[in-house]
Symmetry: C2
Subunit: 499 residues, 2 copies
């Protein structure tokens, strides 16, 4: 449908982005915010056409797509507000002390943009983590031009949104090259983009294989650049004993919904549930099994994801010591028209703690409506499982207050492997707010010090610069004595919004 962008076209795009960078970085916070708001309006103005095309390309239901577009618009507008507010700039002012020995100079610091950002959109979020999604919005807020490589599985959707961004750019008198939208089904386009000297930072949401490849290319450059790849997480859920005594069935019903939400195609899908062998866990498994059997398979995002789900799930189920607990009893429609993705059958499996500890394959993400229940023989083994888990986006505890008090070692171990820890709820559903952390230790992401949801994500695309002994007239407004923007700054060690 769309031809891959050629090497020559990439060269032109990157030259324009570099030129745009030098112009755009001088645009005020207000101008950047208004541009982001204009994108939100243009996205809204695409109306039903956008929902229709996205539905055809991703098989996602209309209601979900409408919600996701609303979320994307909220991201754009709320990050625009945050951009303008300027808290993220980390403005610091230390005024001169001329009679100190040696004299202390006037020094002022703030964040400035890193340069052109290449964004690789996600298959599972055609709006919120794609063309005008979180990475693009926060890069624009930081003052960086953006080059989006469309996800080939929803290239038409991406093309439409890309045009909306370009329209907003023209309306807001943004510099030429502030945004570019490229296509590339082959790895070559991505590689050329990452290796281009004018690319200064990369945002990615997708598989571990894909993200790690980008990370390696970026680090092998003559000048390495940061890559923010959100990749792989099985989002462990720990069922603690006292809580399970009273809430096994209720928890099972809640998790049947979370595991199968959106055909299990969320990065926060709970793919691992860890409990204590015994009657309560058996009750949990029985109810979960019953619920899962009732849930019909849903068409997955694209044929590649469906194929991969079947392959990874079958591989997991074939491992010694792994038993199937339940599979949806509605038969999936496997004979769909050519090119359409198949339907993923909700599936629950189980294994002992020892089996899990000894088999690294069982630690791998199975992207889809699948979850593995680990039966630990005691709390010591559960702690061992927690200590042997890879980095995760989220981890959840189903626990009473007593459970938390008694099993404090487990709680600490769990905190240490994840970016977000949830109590007595489900990991699916990522609230867009400042306190959200959507990120985590490797392999959940390539950089656990940052996250991709919430306005703090702007900081991924910026670095500090200090102005020493600088002429007041030429300081950026953000650092001027009179504080014309009214932003929060740390002045001689104290946070203040005063001039």
């Amino acid at each position: 449908m769309f031809n891959d962008t050629t090497a020559e076209e990439i060269e032109i795009v990157m030259q324009q982005a570099w030129k745009a960078f030098h112009a755009y970085r001088k645009y005020s916070l207000k101008q950047r915010a208004n541009f982001m708001r204009a994108i939100a309006k243009e996205m809204e103005a695409l109306g039903d056409v956008l929902i229709k095309i996205a539905g055809e390309e991703t098989n996602l239901p209309e209601a979900r797509l409408r919600n996701e577009r609303a979320r994307t618009i909220f991201q754009l507008t709320s990050y625009a507000d945050a951009c303008e507010k300027g808290d993220w700039l980390e403005a610091r002012i230390d005024t001169a002390i001329p009679d100190k020995a040696p004299p202390k100079p006037d020094i002022r610091k703030m964040l400035v943009p890193l340069g052109p950002v290449v964004v690789f959109g996600a298959a599972n979020f055609p709006f919120a983590y794609s063309t005008a999604g979180g990475d693009t919005a926060t890069a624009f807020a930081a003052g960086c031009p953006v080059i989006v490589k469309a996800h080939p599985a929803h290239a038409g959707t991406s093309e439409l949104v890309g045009k909306a961004i370009l329209k907003a750019a023209v309306d807001c008198e943004m510099p030429e090259g502030i945004f570019a939208h490229l296509h590339g089904a082959s790895y070559d386009v991505g590689k050329a983009l990452i290796e281009h000297p004018f690319t200064k930072v990369v945002g990615f949401t997708g598989s571990l294989t894909g993200g790690k490849q980008l990370f390696d290319w970026a680090n092998q450059r003559k000048v390495p650049i940061p890559v923010f790849a959100e990749m792989s997480s099985i989002n462990p859920v720990f069922l603690l004993p006292e809580k399970m005594k009273t809430s096994a069935a209720e928890t099972a019903r809640m998790y049947a919904g979370s595991i199968t939400l959106g055909a299990g195609q969320f990065c926060t899908n709970p793919g691992l549930i860890i409990g204590l062998e015994g009657p309560d866990l058996s009750a949990f498994m029985e109810v979960l099994g019953k619920e899962i059997k009732k849930i019909a398979p849903a068409t997955m995002l694209h044929p590649g994801i469906f194929k991969n789900y079947r392959k990874k799930k079958d591989e997991a189920l074939r491992q010694p010591g792994v038993d199937t607990v339940a599979v949806s009893e509605t038969k999936p429609s496997l004979n769909l028209p050519a090119g359409q993705a198949g339907q993923g059958s909700p599936t629950i499996a189980t294994a002992t703690g020892q089996t899990f500890l000894q088999n690294p394959l069982l630690h791998q993400e199975v992207f889809g409506p699948y979850s593995l229940i680990i039966r630990c023989k005691d709390m010591k083994e559960m702690l061992q499982v927690a200590n042997n888990l890879e980095g995760q986006l989220t981890a959840t505890l189903m626990a009473s207050e007593n459970d938390i008090r008694i099993h404090d070692k487990l709680v600490e171990a769990v905190k240490n492997i994840c970016g977000r820890i949830i109590l007595n709820s489900v990991p699916t559903g990522v609230e867009v707010c400042l306190s959200m952390q959507h990120g985590g230790p490797f392999p959940a992401t390539t950089d656990s010090r940052f996250g991709s949801v919430g306005a703090d994500a702007i900081k991924r695309f910026a670095r500090p610069i200090a102005f020493q002994n600088w002429s007041h007239e030429f300081l950026p407004d953000e650092l001027k004595n009179e504080n014309p923007l009214g932003i929060w700054r740390t002045v001689n060690g104290e946070l203040s919004r005063e001039s």
Copy 2:
């Protein structure tokens, strides 16, 4: 003098550090701060013995060493204050909105420590960037155990300071393994430390070759880890035309001092001066040359650094189009006792803008009292030089207000390559304060988003974690409703110190 730590010893040290990490991360900000203050006291208590040994090992003069120790103590105590104040934690609270659809959960976020930090100290700062230097202090503040690999050129000094840290750790009842001090003249020790799975982050100050090697090893791990390496910078100084009309001689005298300060062995040493061909630049060169001739060579830090200085300087001077402007007229004592470093002769060279643009070797750091003056034929060429410079820790403009106004493109280009921009002063002298940025784009450092001086450096060793729907009793004090620590937090979007 000291044997290299063996692989078996490294294993024991890392096991202890990992255990200590799980204990120390729960220590309060106050406990961490008091530990840092105790280290400062123990360092002071080492008295004259420390200065004497450091002098013997580094050839640095007593006054400089006394100043550097005072600075190190100031770092420890001022970062302790910052640690306790908690601004760096980036605490965020978004309270629940139960009647939103879907309900918004209570989410709270703060920074938590990454894990054991391996620190490679600097040759040129035996106190301030070594054993109890900036990396160690900020890692302790963040809640991380520290493993220092002593710099082989001042292993005795490092050993003494290491013992002071261990004494403070015992006095403050820190967990065993909170600090370890290792020796390693060979690369093997460093490699084993970086590759150990319990090492979670690395701090380094030294050469580009060394830092890049650590960075590559860290990225090739199964689980890559962040490396903060401060490596290489030639700290360009731009002489703008109007300023030079009035201040050529004054600037030259100021820079003769800066270039030769501490035998030129500062990472912020001005190794490149860029001016406009003509009578003012000639006057500048003449005065600078005269001053340099008067400055006696000083003994360098160690034989390796001296050898490298001679080699790199001679190589630069041999390049076609490079002419020597001046060399110190005091003969260096080259026949020093075996094992003692030679004396680096202050040297100034010059080349045209075209020569510099065409020869990448001239862009490389010559660590020592050396600076290269670039004669540009016009401002366009000066801009071209700025645009072709690698990443730098600092860049300086000698400029009148008019110069800044007229040559705004140059000013923007210079901002884009450095971490700190200085007006009408010298880059040497790094003030320890929050607004300082000591870092910059590659190859100045491996991560331009962070710096190694000032309390913001604590953030290098931490990552955010979000608590969702968490039981209030079990939240960290930093995130409790009543704000028992009285720290600044962003509550529902607004910065506040209230409960």
